[in-house]
Symmetry: D2
Subunit: 377 residues, 4 copies
Amino acid sequence: MKAVVYQEPFRVVVEDVDAPAIQHPDDVVVRVTSTAICGSDLHMYEGRTAAQSGIVFGHENLGVVEELGSGVSSLQRGDRVVMPFNVACGFCKNCMSGDTAFCLTVNPGFAGGAYGYVSMGPYLGGQAEYLRVPYADFNCLKLPDDTSKEKDYVLLADIFPTGYHGCELARVGPGESVAVFGAGPVGLMAAYSAMLRGAAKVFCVDRVPERLDKAREIGAVPVDFTRGDPAEQIREQTGGEGTDKGVDAVGYQAQDIGGEGEQPAVVLNELIETVRPTGRIGVPGLYVPADPGGPDEQSRHGMLLVSVGRMFEKGQVIGTGQCNVKRYNRQLRDLITEGRAEPSFVVSHELPISEAPEAYRKFDQRVEGYTKVVLHP
Amino acid sequence: MKAVVYQEPFRVVVEDVDAPAIQHPDDVVVRVTSTAICGSDLHMYEGRTAAQSGIVFGHENLGVVEELGSGVSSLQRGDRVVMPFNVACGFCKNCMSGDTAFCLTVNPGFAGGAYGYVSMGPYLGGQAEYLRVPYADFNCLKLPDDTSKEKDYVLLADIFPTGYHGCELARVGPGESVAVFGAGPVGLMAAYSAMLRGAAKVFCVDRVPERLDKAREIGAVPVDFTRGDPAEQIREQTGGEGTDKGVDAVGYQAQDIGGEGEQPAVVLNELIETVRPTGRIGVPGLYVPADPGGPDEQSRHGMLLVSVGRMFEKGQVIGTGQCNVKRYNRQLRDLITEGRAEPSFVVSHELPISEAPEAYRKFDQRVEGYTKVVLHP
Amino acid sequence: MKAVVYQEPFRVVVEDVDAPAIQHPDDVVVRVTSTAICGSDLHMYEGRTAAQSGIVFGHENLGVVEELGSGVSSLQRGDRVVMPFNVACGFCKNCMSGDTAFCLTVNPGFAGGAYGYVSMGPYLGGQAEYLRVPYADFNCLKLPDDTSKEKDYVLLADIFPTGYHGCELARVGPGESVAVFGAGPVGLMAAYSAMLRGAAKVFCVDRVPERLDKAREIGAVPVDFTRGDPAEQIREQTGGEGTDKGVDAVGYQAQDIGGEGEQPAVVLNELIETVRPTGRIGVPGLYVPADPGGPDEQSRHGMLLVSVGRMFEKGQVIGTGQCNVKRYNRQLRDLITEGRAEPSFVVSHELPISEAPEAYRKFDQRVEGYTKVVLHP
Amino acid sequence: MKAVVYQEPFRVVVEDVDAPAIQHPDDVVVRVTSTAICGSDLHMYEGRTAAQSGIVFGHENLGVVEELGSGVSSLQRGDRVVMPFNVACGFCKNCMSGDTAFCLTVNPGFAGGAYGYVSMGPYLGGQAEYLRVPYADFNCLKLPDDTSKEKDYVLLADIFPTGYHGCELARVGPGESVAVFGAGPVGLMAAYSAMLRGAAKVFCVDRVPERLDKAREIGAVPVDFTRGDPAEQIREQTGGEGTDKGVDAVGYQAQDIGGEGEQPAVVLNELIETVRPTGRIGVPGLYVPADPGGPDEQSRHGMLLVSVGRMFEKGQVIGTGQCNVKRYNRQLRDLITEGRAEPSFVVSHELPISEAPEAYRKFDQRVEGYTKVVLHP
């Protein structure tokens, strides 16, 4: 089958690889119909991880069940399903608590597994014609047969729940004010989720005009950080108080506000300043314990200078970590199905899988409006 | 009246000051019968704050209502009451949410007020014969008339709720394992609270043999950090996994594990290593945004090097801040009254107020078993 | 001053009564500018309570602070404020927990007080030119000066938070399905609140076409119970499963589905049938322990036949009780202020207070579209 | 193999039946070493259910894994395991939320399955030499190899978690007062769990002296309902206020307080009287939608007269339903393992399986101290 295969930094190819087969009674094989490129794929693409040549990319996958293991109970051939990017077993301690991003079974020695991602276990990615899904009863979410909302549903694999997770970590509730840092796809999904959860006022901080425009379109207040300290801009618009909650949808590759390269803790520290005493900060944006490309020795080991003194003085809570997609994807699916959510406004391109190499290149360079690409194998 | 007055670093005196009077209809004046010296009083005593000469110390106060403002509804002359160290109004947004440590009314321009503490508002301390209590209906907790448990009840002003708050921030629940760093009075109260909340296994990390003995006596597992990395010691005793939860009862004046002076973030980072993926860390231990005595430029501004990468990888949540005493003191009082909790095991000395200068000196030097002193004016 | 005074069943008059004065340092007197008639006023109006002649009605009050007691801290003359229908002290055990509808101070011997309501304490109602507000710092919620949304803000006194409370008792969350029984003002507010909280699908059950139309207008699915058992109608529209959550916005004066008079438990039992296993039911609709007009001996003592067997089999949770307005009114105010909520769609009439007698008559008879009347003194 | 088989009302026999075999890749077969008789087995034993002759009893099972299906991931031959009485799949909507007592997969057409119980699916009971466990990775909880606490661990299958579930439904927290109605095995486990969760004061209501003695031994306050209305007795011991929380560990076969036969709603209504305004009531005690032996027509259909008026006036919450064992059994296991809980104080007899018929007879008649019997096949 055709698959998107990583070769070396800044180079993926579409080539023939062996199609996956059932390996365990609880597996299914899914024929992929939509699979999105994720910002986190670019970490590997840019060579800033330990990813080796030959890995098949793709953790945002939607398709049709093609083959079933003998132990699968709840699925049938032909079912349309979307899979969380996390591979999870469903029965370990963490899965039991809903912390499916930290499954203790699927990636021995580490808490958490994923498809097509370095160090996340032996699971091939879904930017391919077929995908093997382990523990399929647990990992497949059934979708309506109607394909007209496929572009929305495919976002259930990662970025819609991930944005929502930021709001959940921050416990965003009705009537609250929220500052979302980052208005890329995840940041927009966080802002959109905050609205869905009833927030009264949502700020979106970024510097890219197109992103800020999108934020405005969904009802958020855009804050351009090149025009002045964002914490200050937001305090001015909240009677000097700051917001109730905050979401970091940027992570460690944050750009210095002054524009002088990466400054990995800048968003965290800005959030500590932006959020009012007693507030909470949700961090779905990625931080890593080892970053060979970090700007200094300490950040290369994931050690960042954080204003702990201010955070304590304000009595803030910071919640972090990858999204437990399975905790939210059913409810978010139902919002899409009922027409109450339409997250596909972030999708900029739908392309055949053959154009993946080009798509990666353009997405990596953020050219021609490439913000979120969905591939169709 | 007699009061304990700060004069200069390492020097307090007992001298005559004006007795307080009712200033507002909702005030009461309390005749203080027990008032404890707190570890945080030592920050001022040692001259590591901006505290000026003349300040009356004392935020852990218990006594008898002597005089009432015309607006007070729920108290009567002669009522025995204990006051949270936080002064709070009861009606601002934060008090309404139970976040009484972050009251927006009592200390304008800052979220939170306290008795007898630098920068915490104009409230004289209670290491004195009398204490004015504002918003008395809100700030006084009534006690049974029986004085036999006064030594327990006085701990409701601060350290028992503060230790408990650490467990609440970490959401310690029945059957869980917890690592408490610091086995001073607050750490022991945190460990004791974890037991009360049904924890299955509580570790207490310290290096002082007497403290570790106390920890053992209440059923906790003592961990002596001079015998090896505490995170490693604890992982060994938890099947390699680490604990479900952690509490930082040390704060920014943490001592380097290797014993080479202060290392303000060492406890936070040890907790990130100690607590398992998906775990939570409660931080009642004090961190400050400005510490003139900090070991380096950044820590002097409250900026600490934190292993954010590991924290994110493990999906941990960190909750911080001073204790909202009022949120817990009634329930903890009832545990004492019913004989289910006896926190006074941490009290080492009961002394007349005239001995305060000596008590401060010895407590500061941790000599002769001075761990927790209760003064009786 | 002019006030709406109850005289006898089906008769209120507007007459001169003594204007209220400050009685306690924490009181304010508010000049009322908007005050709504509530469905629960009709219980008294119809003579189905022990209300005596002479009582001034009105618990949904908004106005301007005119006079302040000497203890009031946070308000100034001229402040525009809306008051929860509950009178609450702010410092008792229940107020501390946010359960302000069950204040233990303001109505001795009973948990909870209100303005202008039989058995709810000595507080005159606000269908009058002036209103005394006790514990004013706690009971007044400040509003923006702009009066253009007064019709929305006045609903913060009762029905908007009460509808929201139904959703809170049922823990309605994003992506869920909800059945709201009753599409009167409170039911519509419950449905509207469910949408604000992100529900995926909201059903509104009633039989009055105008109400069902309003429900449709706000995005809910109307269910006309005269066309068949509502539980069945809803199961059909939820794949046979029923809804995740339910809200009873009707209470004990429920009409039999077959139309044969009152059947006080019919809504509760329909909800038990409608809501799926593990679901929750919120009951803001009023049930009373003594109802002289009840259809049988047992219901006259508040004893109703409930399908406890089914409820247990389904593992449902039922939460009841009057709304703790203060727990939600600030957040809901902010939704109105930011233009994210506009609850005034339920207001049918705005009238001068002189027309109160006529308004009561028509509202009681549900004629001429009288669904929610706001009086302006 | 030998198994306890129901023949007709008041008659079980130990006879040879076919040993179970692996039927699905996710099954295991467990060699049972301990299996307890449950109070709910007596409903079938007494002929008050639709149970047919031939059913193998036993849903409280502990044993050693003997045979594994090809899909089982986390277990090995020889593992010691205890199984929740609920059979659950681990991947349906309800299991995902932790509501494993309401699994939608294992008993089609009904929410929830169990071993050896009428209408709870095709799962043979474990009062036998061997037991087939479906979805074994999800349903088996591993135990330490040491068998000295087997008597404690076997209670993890049902009654320890069920008592704990009562406290969870009532949200019993540290420092609270709780009234537990019923001091049989589940009631004692509820009281014991309340203590573990830090309750300040626990009342146990019953009339059997031995049970009340047991309650006293674990630190609860016994209340003998034959000496006066229990709600009143408890109010007297709580300053007239009632308790914060309540647990119904009796269910529908409640005895009239006056001793005149069954009165199915008496415990619910007593709890509504006993628990203070804003309180919560947990109902793990069984109520059924069809009870052929009910005292009147309505109770035979599970319709009971409940004081809804009082419940609403007090703003109470009632949570019901069978225990989701899997939600708690790991944490409770750890309390046993660490020596912090020893629930086996309720076990009165340990017997070989051959004595099951005699044990059933005596347990049913509550003779010779038969309160909780553990059988060893």
